[in-house]
């Protein structure tokens, strides 16, 4: 389908206009009461022109960055694309909430806004209230969507002919696992090509790639995978707010069933959430047979989570071949590779000794590693050693990519390329033409000259009863006493553990690490909510270890990630809380 790039559209506004007359192109908002609200492309186009007028009236000019702090809504779509219409640059930022640490959020947001020299921030009245600290510390102009004049921009104020693929489509802030999030520039060409490469790799034809997405639109997977793919494909899109999905994960499956959708994409944790939060009785009501692509990306795929999800959804007629791990990052717009749709990808099991030495040797009892498939069209990739030597298949090294979907660089900053290649920051290898990811290069633990990848041990530890799943950090620290790198484990444990159980757990985790042949520095059991995560829910390994070293790792009263926070709420939900309170009061009464 990519074939001749000259045949592809050059700007998203042109695509939106074309969609006003395409039969299957539609946008539907689903609310938490399972009601659907159609939003036609004609309405979107009208709202874009109204929003564009608001931006111009607010002083926005071509080339200015327009920051958006808005929920998934018509307003997000209209102001996002309105910025593009007047050749300004939209940049979406994650919103604060009633339990956000507003000092920390304001500081981080101010830094993001300053990095792009944003002069206007578009939000709504509800969110504006939370921004009082931000308002006092910046000269930023706030525009609330409720204050729209509802007048369309005059035809003289924009020129559809001028819109081209060199225009900046949007700025994506990177996840910020190290330091503040960086503003990555994504051009119209980057976005359109990546979406076409994605559609080309999906089983359905473009106009049949009907999508449901609950991902936040300030995240690249939500913006490109969830929103722009069906827009550019001219297909159906059902949008769910992320907070509604976390509150009621069954909305996701209801949308698929009702609209016979084909494609969705989500991080690993959400597949686990579905298996945990929906009852076996409720599953029978869904029909997922229309789905041919349940994509899983943004974080390492945990094979136990996948197994549980597939097993759990069998009664809903889920085709296991539809599940596929994917790989990508903001710096490459979104997707780099997709797994094989025709078979559920069984992990490669690797001998741990050879693995630690950077070599791929299969061993049935070994470490499981999932393929993230073949490269999408437009990408080339290579694996290089730390010395810059290009490695062969079955040798583990640094993954580098190149292609027209790679971002031109940081906004008003440096290029992301070195010697023409983008270093992804990940370690991996090619095996029989497929790419495998081992982990982040900066997280590798080098013990006695051998490489060890924290995620495998974190997954093992997460499976132990009493340990909070996904709330584990494994890393290495230099121990002066032994003059060597040793393992440190930080693990959140369940609240209700007795002292005896905690002691037992401590011993179990100690033994697990020692059994792997690794030198152990310490296992630290932590209270719920102590470990720090990014706005997209990724554990910040280095930051957590640094805090532990400085004795500043204490129970955080605030979640610094709205999505993660909502995940915590979703895990307990109101019904469970009611039951717990009832049981607790009964116990108190009986004691």
């Amino acid at each position: 389908m990519i074939g001749d790039y000259n045949q592809l559209p050059k700007h998203l506004i042109h695509v939106i206009l074309e969609n006003t007359s395409r039969n299957n192109a539609s946008i539907i908002f689903m609310d938490k009461t399972e009601n659907y609200h159609d939003y036609s492309y004609l309405e979107l186009w009208s709202d874009i022109k109204i929003a564009a007028n608001d931006l111009v009236e607010s002083g926005v000019k071509s080339g200015d960055v327009v920051s958006l702090i808005l929920p998934t809504s018509k307003e997000f779509l209209s102001y996002f694309f309105a910025a593009q219409l007047i050749r300004a640059i939209p940049a979406a930022i994650y919103p604060p909430s009633s339990i956000t640490n507003l000092d920390s959020w304001s500081k981080k947001t101010k830094s993001m806004l300053e990095s792009v020299d944003s002069k206007v921030l578009v939000t709504n009245k509800k969110i504006e209230k939370f921004c009082y600290k931000l308002k006092s510390e910046t000269t930023l102009k706030f525009f609330c969507t409720e204050d729209s004049s509802r007048e369309e921009i005059s035809k003289n104020s924009y020129d559809l002919e001028l819109l081209n693929d060199n225009d900046i489509c949007f700025i994506q802030f990177s996840s910020g696992t190290t330091g503040n999030p960086k503003p990555i520039v994504i051009s119209q060409k980057n976005a359109i090509l990546n979406v076409y490469a994605i559609i080309d790799s999906l089983p359905s034809d473009a106009e049949d790639v009907d999508v449901v997405s609950w991902l936040p639109l300030y995240h690249d997977m939500g913006l490109i995978g969830g929103l722009m793919t069906p827009i550019i494909g001219g297909s159906k899109l059902v949008l769910i707010k992320p907070e509604d999905f976390i509150y009621k994960p069954s909305l996701w499956l209801r949308a698929i069933t009702d609209h016979r959708l084909h494609t969705t994409t989500a991080p690993n944790f959400s597949y686990g959430l579905v298996a945990k939060r929906i009852s076996k009785e409720e599953i029978q009501k869904f029909n997922l047979s229309s789905m041919n692509a349940f994509l899983c990306g943004a974080e390492m795929v945990q094979h136990k989570t996948v197994e549980k999800f597939l097993e759990f959804l069998k009664p809903a007629k889920l085709n296991p071949n539809s599940f596929t791990p994917v790989y990508g990052m903001a710096e490459t717009t979104l997707a780099i590779s997709f797994g094989d749709f025709k078979k559920f990808t069984e992990p490669l099991k690797l001998d741990p000794v050879f693995f630690s030495e950077g070599k791929v040797v299969e061993n049935e009892e070994g470490i499981p590693v999932y393929s993230v498939g073949k490269l999408l069209k437009t990408f080339q990739a290579r694996i290089i050693s730390n010395d810059g030597e290009v490695l062969a298949d079955d040798e583990i090294g640094n993954i580098q990519v190149v292609g027209p979907c790679v971002s031109q660089g940081i906004y008003k900053g440096d290029s992301l390329l070195e010697n023409g290649w983008l270093d992804t920051g990940d370690k991996g290898f090619f095996h029989k033409d497929e790419l495998y990811i081992c982990g982040r290069s900066k997280d590798i633990m080098i013990i006695r000259g051998a490489n060890f990848y924290p995620s495998f041990y974190e997954e093992k530890i997460s499976e132990i009863n009493g340990v909070r799943k996904g709330r584990v950090v494994v890393s290495s620290l230099y121990n002066e006493a032994t003059d060597s790198e040793e393992i440190i484990v930080l693990a959140e444990v369940n609240k209700e553990l007795t002292k005896e159980r905690r002691d037992e757990l401590q011993k179990t985790l100690n033994d697990l690490i020692l059994k792997e042949g690794l030198p152990l520095l310490k296992v630290v059991l932590l209270e719920t909510g102590t470990l720090l995560k990014t706005s997209s829910g990724k554990i910040q390994r280095k930051k957590n270890v640094d805090h532990w070293i400085n004795k500043t790792l204490e129970k955080s009263k605030f979640q610094n990630s709205k999505l993660n926070t909502l995940y915590q709420i979703g895990k307990i939900n109101l019904l469970n809380i009611k039951n717990n309170i009832f049981n607790q009061e009964n116990n108190n009464a009986n004691n």
Partner: protein, 96 residues
């Protein structure tokens, strides 16, 4: 019928009691002390974010308020409510 003033008192009572959620061993005397401190610390215009609550405690509070007020608050989007007054306004609407 709950007035805004009595609702505010109920909210502070529940807020004080929520400390038991994080520390079941806390004494009734300490809860009473905390309750007294809240009178000077919490105003209707106090942002919820300044109460130092985590997501689980916030949900616990909502559930307790449901019981105290005999309402169903599951429709409240707690994360979008800015201040104590905003929460009380939502609860009053449920009662009416």
């Amino acid at each position: 019928m709950q007035t805004t003033e009595t609702l505010f008192e109920t909210f502070k009572n529940v807020l004080a009691l929520s400390n038991k959620n994080n520390d079941p061993s806390i004494s009734s005397e300490r809860i009473a002390e905390i309750r007294k401190e809240l009178d000077s610390r919490i105003l209707p215009e106090t942002p919820l974010a300044e109460l130092g609550l985590d997501s689980m405690t916030m949900t616990w509070i909502i559930v307790k308020l449901e019981e105290e007020l005999d309402v169903d608050a599951s429709g409240i989007s707690i994360f979008e409510i800015f201040d104590v007054q905003g929460l009380m306004d939502e609860l009053i609407q449920l009662r009416d």
